[in-house]
């Protein structure tokens, strides 16, 4: 009798817990604990068979992705999921310190990864090291500047962000609906270097400058709509995006390109970390090694709908050998002008989180901009 009551009470509590789990928006993949499944928290598309099929075959495992858009969402997901939900996280470099502070990621052994193969500039990338300890390995990067419609603009017309305020651009400036790169470009156009480390006066000026763009605005787009709005001509100019959008479109015949204006561009960097407490640290390490290997790098660079730059020099070489035409359009050729020239010329600022204001303050300004 007592046992029965006890059982039913336990059942009731169990049901309550399940309900709570369901309603508190946690992600709990059914097979999170399967040894042959690598749980991967990443931007959309990064578990595409093109990228991971070879790794899955070699290691007889399955890469299961939980996708997010934007670092805030990534943090939310990882915060709200039970420990052990993820093994590897791919994050934008500027969010790593938040992951590190919240103790979500493991320290890495630099000897495990081919860092010496990277361009010297990226071998000790500042955002990946904390107290001289490595927490993330760079997998790919790209530049954000001003993307434009080549039928409407000549390159010299968009050599400055000022093009967005011209009458010609009225109602034709699109925005990626993420405050960070969008406001970063406006900050650059206001002469702020670095763009995310600005004082209150500069922040006020940035706000005013941003709001003055409202009459020029076509819309605030999701990732999918960035592509469609550039392709169908709804937007002629979009700041804060880059070749990760326009290269694929251009190869597909759309008249679009990205320029780093005179005021400079922003570099985004993606890197992989091992999630703290994973029982599959070995598999996670192998996945990062695979992704940073020359073969993994070539695949990362050439995925049809998301072209990226890669930090590995052997990766560049393999790309030039196996896909020379891709190497050319991606400007990843060692013996020609290439993507590293912009970096070396100091025209690119790192994308960072706001340094002197709270994230929320920047977010609020962005919300207000949208609602104007």
């Amino acid at each position: 009798m007592t046992r029965q009551i006890d059982l039913s009470r336990r059942g009731f509590i169990g049901a309550g817990a399940a309900l709570a789990a369901g309603t508190s928006l946690r992600w709990s993949p059914a097979y999170a604990q399967e040894p042959q499944v690598l749980n991967y928290l990443s931007w959309p598309g990064n578990a595409d068979p093109y990228l991971v099929a070879e790794f899955e075959a070699e290691n007889n495992c399955k890469v299961a992705i939980k996708e997010y858009v934007g670092g805030d969402q990534m943090l939310a997901v990882i915060n709200q999921s039970p420990p052990g939900s993820f093994d590897v996280v791919l994050a934008d470099a500027e969010y790593l310190h938040l992951l590190k502070e919240a103790d979500f990621i493991e320290e890495l052994n630099p000897a495990d990864y081919p860092l010496q193969d990277f361009w010297p500039e990226f071998q000790k990338f500042p955002l990946h090291w904390f107290d001289d300890k490595l927490y993330a390995v760079m997998t790919d990067f790209g530049y954000l500047g001003l993307s434009y419609n080549t039928e409407v603009y000549k390159p010299e017309e968009v050599s400055s962000y000022a093009a967005m305020w011209e009458p010609k651009a009225t109602g034709k400036v699109g925005f990626f609906d993420w405050y960070l790169p969008s406001m970063g470009c406006i900050s650059l156009s206001n002469g702020n270097r670095p763009p995310f480390d600005i004082d209150e006066a500069a922040f006020e000026a940035l706000k005013e400058k941003l709001f003055s763009l409202k009459p020029q605005t076509a819309g605030f787009y999701t990732i999918a709509d960035i592509f469609s709005s550039l392709r169908n001509g709804q937007a002629h100019l979009i700041p804060g995006i880059g070749e990760w959008v326009t290269l694929g479109l251009r190869l597909d015949g759309a008249p679009v390109d990205t320029i780093l204006p005179a005021e400079g561009g922003i570099q985004w960097t993606e890197s992989m970390s091992i999630v703290k407490g994973t029982p599959k640290a070995d598999l996670a390490r192998k996945f990062i090694q695979y992704t940073t290997s020359p073969r993994g790098q070539v695949l990362m660079a050439t995925k049809a709908d998301n072209k990226k730059s890669i930090p590995s020099i052997p990766g560049w070489k393999l790309l030039a050998e196996t896909m020379p035409d891709q190497a050319e359009v991606l400007r990843l050729q060692l013996d020609k002008p290439n993507v590293m020239d912009d970096w070396k010329a100091g025209r690119v600022a790192l994308r960072q989180l706001p340094q002197q204001q709270a994230i929320e303050d920047w977010n609020d300004v962005w919300s207000e901009m949208k609602s104007l």
Binding site: N79, Q80, G171, G219, Q234
Partner: protein, 286 residues
């Protein structure tokens, strides 16, 4: 047991209603209570923490983006309601009162199908049709007409919203008109009413509850819609639904998003009650 019969007769319908009540409780009342509770919670390190904090309410209700979005969403929903009523009524009138039974059944099926097809897909289709490089502008170009900037404004937004509301509103009005006693129309004609007088003095008053229901439904759908404002105006400016998503996106502010959600529900409930009062006036007088 003669005394049992009336009790049983009353108990049966009540019993049959139980699943509906449970359903409503499980899938509407409980989530709603949860939503209201969450509005007082806090977010720390992107994590929800139970608390009793009125700050979320204060922050949202006093924020300029919320107030602007509220006014804008209300305006949009109101215009969408008026547009869909004006466009749907003549169609519903023709379907309900002019067509043969067979043709009417065909048209009703024709109206029901869009209700059950993907709205998002249709909104995307409109994007393709209306965009500067889209179907319409290509056609304009071929005809030697100037290009028109159709996407990203009130026109495209309302085209999208009408895609959502028009079939439903037309159906509601059609059923309302089918349900009205058609001899009332004949009687009015017979008693000296012109066609316009019949419409204004008889048909519209006779289907007043149906008109109210159709209007509330259109308002409700347009007010809460997310897809059309996002995909056809590029969130420019954002509606309350977009604001909810934005609030969650930037910093996992579920409590503040819940404040917006609860406010929206309150407004819709108010609209519903007001229309009910307006259309059920005669009932009240009794």
């Amino acid at each position: 047991m003669p005394g049992m019969a009336p009790i049983r007769r009353k108990a049966l319908p009540a019993l049959l209603g139980v699943p509906v009540v449970l359903w409503q409780l499980a899938f509407f009342v409980l989530p709603l209570v949860f939503l209201v509770v969450i509005t007082f919670w806090k977010v720390r390190n992107f994590k929800l923490e139970p608390a009793f904090d009125l700050g979320n309410w204060e922050k949202v209700l006093t924020s300029t983006p919320f107030q602007r979005a509220l006014v804008y969403t209300g305006e949009v929903a109101l215009i969408a309601t008026i547009l869909s009523m004006l466009l749907a009524f003549p169609a519903a009138h023709a379907i309900a009162l002019r067509l043969s039974d067979k043709a009417r059944a065909r048209w009703i099926a024709f109206l029901i199908i869009p209700v059950f097809s993907s709205y998002i897909l249709k909104v995307y289709a409109w994007q393709v049709v209306l965009s500067p490089g889209g179907v319409l502008n290509v056609a304009f170009g071929a005809l030697g007409l100037p290009q028109a900037d159709l996407l990203g404004g009130m026109l495209s937004l309302h085209i999208g919203l009408l895609t959502l509301t028009l079939p439903v509103v037309t159906l509601i009005l059609t059923f309302a008109l089918m349900g009205m006693d058609k001899t009332l129309i004949e009687a009015a004609r017979n008693l000296g009413a012109s066609r316009a007088q019949v419409l204004l003095q008889v048909t519209l008053p006779a289907i007043k509850p149906g008109l109210g229901l159709a209007a509330v439904t259109a308002f409700l759908m347009a007010f809460g819609d997310y897809a059309s404002p996002v995909f056809l105006t590029g969130s420019n400016p954002p509606t309350l639904s977009i604001l909810i998503v934005d609030t969650v996106k930037s910093g996992s502010q579920w409590p503040r998003a819940s404040v917006i959600g609860v406010s929206m529900l309150a407004i819709l409930a108010l609209a519903f009650v007001l229309v009910q009062l307006a259309t059920a006036k005669r009932e009240v007088q009794r």
